[in-house]
């Protein structure tokens, strides 16, 4: 009986033979650690890149989006719990090895591949091989993650990743423990490492009524981003919708969302967005130089763009991101 320890994420699950980790997709088989979901996608869709949400990378382009079963967090508000909180034998899977992912992305005119829906961390080997292959063939790689990963595997992955949307769920360890059965510090470290290694990072924060919607919570988040990531880091406040184990709460009121959006702008963040609420002024990208609307959006849809090669066509300010 050989025991192994998985060092992929901060949980460091110790597994006896036949046991799986907390993520349900990494198991000790005959004394070796195996990924059970390599090349087995439980979801594969062509999505607008705005859905990730990533607003500063090739706006209006399609992203070939894949996921496998399992997750290393267990958020009470998970929108995709039917796949994230299930072992792979309980989800419908298709055989989609890295080469097929790249091939499909090309066939459907996608400029990027997004590793999303659950958390690409738990299908790490699949993400790593696919993103390496995709990069060789000129495709971009988008990581949509909660960032609950160890430094070493993250550093090995970053060279292939163009952009990431990291879900920074709250600014207290207590929140992470209660909401997601995780911890805060590794997420903050992951964001900083990605930044340092040249990944374009956008941050999402889901505003959950009574959980993380006070001014104190919101300000802590804004100030950490401003101080550690820079004021040109895009921040998406996202509207919560009752689901999974938090159906007792109401959806986030529009005022809360607007308030957070205004607060972040007032604190000096340049690119603040309000998501999950089509028609909100926070769907748009504003020029930090002249205040003009650069990209007008409704939900995931691009209505108009006044960007010329990443600069404001009115005042010439450079907007961080990948624009062509």
């Amino acid at each position: 009986m050989r025991t192994v320890t998985c060092d992929l994420c901060p949980r460091h699950c110790r597994l006896k033979e036949g046991e799986r980790g907390d993520c349900r997709v990494r198991a000790n088989i005959d004394g070796k650690l195996y990924s059970l979901v390599y090349g087995k996608a439980c979801a594969a869709h062509v999505d607008p890149i705005e859905k990730k949400p990533v607003f500063h990378v090739l706006p209006g382009s399609s992203s070939f989006s894949i996921a496998t079963a399992g997750c290393n967090l267990h958020c009470l508000y998970c929108q995709n719990w039917q796949i994230s909180q299930r072992p792979p034998e309980e989800t419908p899977n298709i055989d989609l090895p890295p080469a097929s992912v790249v091939e499909n992305a090309r066939r459907y005119d996608c400029r990027s591949i997004a590793y999303t829906y659950t958390d690409p961390i738990v299908f790490y080997e699949y993400t790593l091989d696919t993103s390496r292959l995709a990069k060789d063939q000129g495709l971009l790689n988008i990581l949509v993650t909660a960032g609950y990963i160890e430094q070493e595997p993250l550093k090995a992955l970053c060279p292939f990743i163009t952009a990431a949307n990291v879900d920074l769920k709250g600014m207290s360890d207590d929140f992470y423990r209660r909401m997601s059965q995780g911890t805060l510090t590794p997420v903050l470290e992951a964001i900083l490492t990605m930044k340092r290694m040249g990944v374009h990072v956008e941050i999402t924060n889901l505003l959950v009524p009574t959980w993380n919607d006070t001014d104190k919570d919101i300000l802590a988040l804004i100030r950490w981003i401003k101080e550690h990531c820079g004021s040109d880091t895009p921040l998406h406040f996202s509207r919560f919708w009752p689901t999974h184990e938090l159906q007792n709460l109401p959806p986030t009121p529009e005022e809360t969302l607007t308030h957070a959006w205004e607060l972040a702008r007032a604190e000096g963040l340049s690119f603040v967005y309000a998501g999950n609420m089509p028609g909100h002024p926070g769907n748009n990208t504003f020029c930090p130089g002249c205040g003009k609307i650069l990209i007008r959006r409704r939900g995931y849809q691009i209505l108009s763009s006044n960007l010329a090669e990443g600069t404001c066509d009115a005042c010439g300010s450079r907007i961080p991101g990948i624009w062509k």
């Binding site: 998985c6 046991e19 088989i29 059970l36 899977n93 159906q247």
Partner: protein, 449 residues
């Protein structure tokens, strides 16, 4: 809160999950461990707080409600799948008034039955029997059953608040037996009453010779010990569930073979007095064993003329001629076997001297049954009797056997109980192979000593 219960083909609980709720997350957390307790519970598990389920601290009311709901679902499925009636009474009295009414009705019937014996009153006995049939049979469908004895043996007796009728039949069945003998069997058990009433309808065949008849009566003792041992060994009352013919008759629930057995017992009772009570009822065997210690029993008093009419009249051959040891020289007296006597009172009313009485004292007599010598020719009545008995045992074997045999459908491959014996690694490989998943070696891990 809505819960979902997953059961397999043998009505074993595989999972209990919350489907919809309005609770706080911390409350749900405490619920997880609670719900986990239901996993793997079999079709005859009590599913009761304090018995096999521990309540959530400070949420006893919710725990009770969830436990009851799971139990109702399990019971419904075990009825469909295995033909076992609900473990909960049709109507469980909750108010004190109802409870008192229930107990006093039972005790009233018991008193009137006792008075009928003491006063040799045949009419009062039949009135009591009619009452017993209505109350224990049609109204409450609760009769003393071998399953109760097995549940006590397994330490699974229900709490009175959940099933007070269970305790009522137990008290009414056992306490008077220790005082008077098998008065529950003779006057209160609805299936016994039905058999006796049917028996009155027809001309009866010749009496079965004592050696055969007495031998047949031993069958029920074997059944009692056999079934109890089997159930205790299996740790479940399953093999004994629904084998007694009164279960399908009064609850309307049973497998086809249990119904067949019930019909056969009804037919047998028309020809042979209380065929099931006398030869096959495990509860009868138990009350028989208990009545060996009863305080009062039918005993001949001074004045017996040894006419032998009572011996001839006893429908269950519980009386035998004996030899007096009171110092007098009379060759014939009677001795009553309390284990077989159903206190029907036939001997009391037929005695010309009226010297048989329910009493603590009497003439001490030694049974003296002359030994049969040589082979005896069996007549038709005896042959049919033996055929009935063997046929009944065959059906009974079918009823009990169907309980131990394979479940009706679905396999138990994922069953938590059987999975426990499986090496985990093998099980994981099988699961993955079945799902078409091929493991790929992972990065970032190390062997741990």
């Amino acid at each position: 809160m809505d819960i979902g219960v997953v059961l397999n083909g043998e009505a074993r609980i595989k999972d209990v999950r919350i489907i919809r709720h309005q609770e706080s997350p911390s409350y749900l957390k405490s619920m997880e461990a609670f719900l986990h307790q239901f996993m793997g519970k079999g079709p005859t598990a009590p599913l009761e707080l304090k018995t096999d389920i521990d309540a959530i601290t400070r949420a006893t009311v919710s725990s009770e409600a969830v436990t009851l709901a799971v139990r109702q679902i399990r019971d419904r499925f075990r009825r469909e799948l295995l033909g076992i009636p609900s473990s909960l009474p049709k109507h469980n009295p909750t108010t004190p008034v109802e409870k008192i009414l229930l107990f006093s009705t039972g005790i009233l019937l018991l008193i009137s039955g006792t008075l009928a014996i003491i006063h040799r009153n045949v009419t009062l006995r039949w009135i009591t029997m009619a009452g017993g049939f209505l109350f224990f049979g049609l109204m409450t469908a609760s009769m003393l059953s071998i399953v109760q004895i097995i549940h006590i043996g397994l330490g699974n007796s229900p709490s009175p608040s959940v099933n007070i009728l269970w305790w009522l039949t137990l008290v009414i069945g056992i306490v008077p037996t220790l005082l008077l003998g098998r008065i529950y069997c003779g006057t209160l058990c609805p299936f016994g009453i039905l058999q006796e009433a049917l028996h009155k309808m027809v001309q009866h065949p010749e009496k079965i010779p004592p050696s055969t008849y007495r031998g047949a009566q031993r069958t029920k003792v074997l059944l009692l010990f056999g079934l109890t041992a089997l159930c205790l060994w299996q740790g479940s009352s399953l093999p004994a569930e629904g084998m007694e013919p009164f279960v399908p008759l009064f609850t309307g629930t049973g497998t086809r073979i249990a119904w067949a057995f019930m019909v056969m017992m009804i037919i047998a009772s028309i020809f042979y007095y209380r065929f099931f009570c006398a030869h096959l009822c495990p509860v009868g065997a138990m009350t028989g064993l208990l009545s060996r210690f009863s305080l009062f029993r039918i005993k001949p008093q001074k004045g017996c003329s040894s006419c032998g009419q009572c011996v001839a009249a006893c429908p269950v051959q519980a009386m035998a001629p004996g030899r007096s040891s009171d110092g007098t020289d009379r060759p014939l007296e009677v001795v009553v076997d309390p284990a077989e006597c159903l206190l029907c009172g036939k001997c009391l009313t037929i005695c010309p001297e009226q010297c048989l009485r329910l009493s603590r004292t009497g003439i001490v007599v030694q049974a003296h049954i002359p030994k049969e010598t040589g082979r005896r020719q069996r007549d038709a009545a005896e042959r049919i009797f033996i055929a009935f008995l063997l046929g009944a045992l065959l059906l009974l074997g079918g009823v009990v056997g169907s309980r131990i045999a394979e479940p009706p459908f679905l396999t138990t491959a994922q069953d938590p109980a059987s999975a426990a014996n499986d090496p985990a690694g093998q099980r994981l490989k099988e699961t993955l192979a079945a799902a078409g998943l091929s493991p790929h070696e992972a990065r970032y891990w190390r062997e741990t000593p």
